[in-house]
Symmetry: C3
Subunit: 111 residues, 3 copies
């Protein structure tokens, strides 16, 4: 039987920092988008949401690679920074989904 591959602790931490970095960028962009839609500046709101989506795409890909490593049998030791990083990503994705809905609300109010 093959030995189980174990993810290097440093590598796992680097992925966590990466997730937090990209999620943080995305969260800032989502908030800037929400500030823009509040003053009916749809172009800026669209641009900021697109930037947020690109950062989230990168973070989500890092997370997916991690889950794929796990599904291939690699042992990934869970550290608190990784739990925090995943929370950061998933709540920012959720906030972005809400911002997209708020855009429609603001457009209706301003119509």
């Amino acid at each position: 039987m093959a030995e189980q591959k174990i993810m290097d602790e440093m590598e796992s931490q680097m992925t966590a920092f990466n997730l937090i970095l990209h999620s943080g960028d995305a969260r800032n962009n989502v908030h800037e988008a929400m500030d823009a839609m509040k003053v009916a500046d749809w172009a800026t709101a669209d641009a900021k949401l697109a930037e947020a989506e690109e950062s989230l795409r990168q973070a989500h890909q890092a997370q997916t690679e991690l889950l794929q490593e796990f599904s291939r049998g690699t042992k990934i030791e869970i550290q608190i920074i990784m739990v925090h990083a995943q929370d950061h990503l998933m709540t920012t994705m959720t906030l972005k989904e809400v911002a997209v809905e708020l855009m429609d609300v603001y457009k209706k109010i301003n119509a």
Copy 2:
């Protein structure tokens, strides 16, 4: 002293997949509800939110059972899929709470 019970790795993974499955169903229903309320189709929005709540209830129950196992002293090894599954559930519950608020907003706008 009694030996500590350890949750089988496979059982813990099955619970994680279960959480993700039900949360995913719920998330789709929440998005369909938000699409419906946008066009003032309150009946569909209500039905979709009710479906989301039922899926979330099932996922939440699986999570609660896990937390109860832990509180009874069972050792549950935390794998990355379980961290992800819990994020999935908690962010979807939050998105559902937001959708319920947006329903009120849309009703006011359309009043």
Copy 3:
């Protein structure tokens, strides 16, 4: 080489309970704020959001201390209650951010 410090299992659980307690208080206050803004009671909404922010500040500080312990090299065993506690905090922080946005929406609708 110095021996690695390991966080006491009981201490880690106490922090988790603390996070859940403060996050739960905050979440209740956020929902009360959203109920108040729905009926244009801005003063109550503001007061409830401020209470939520204070509870979240306390919970967030407990989480930050934990992450600092980790960054100083302390080994923190991740238990399911800690994963849940962090989810609780991060989703409540996100719901609060949404409530702040909804306040602006309701003010525009009522203007």
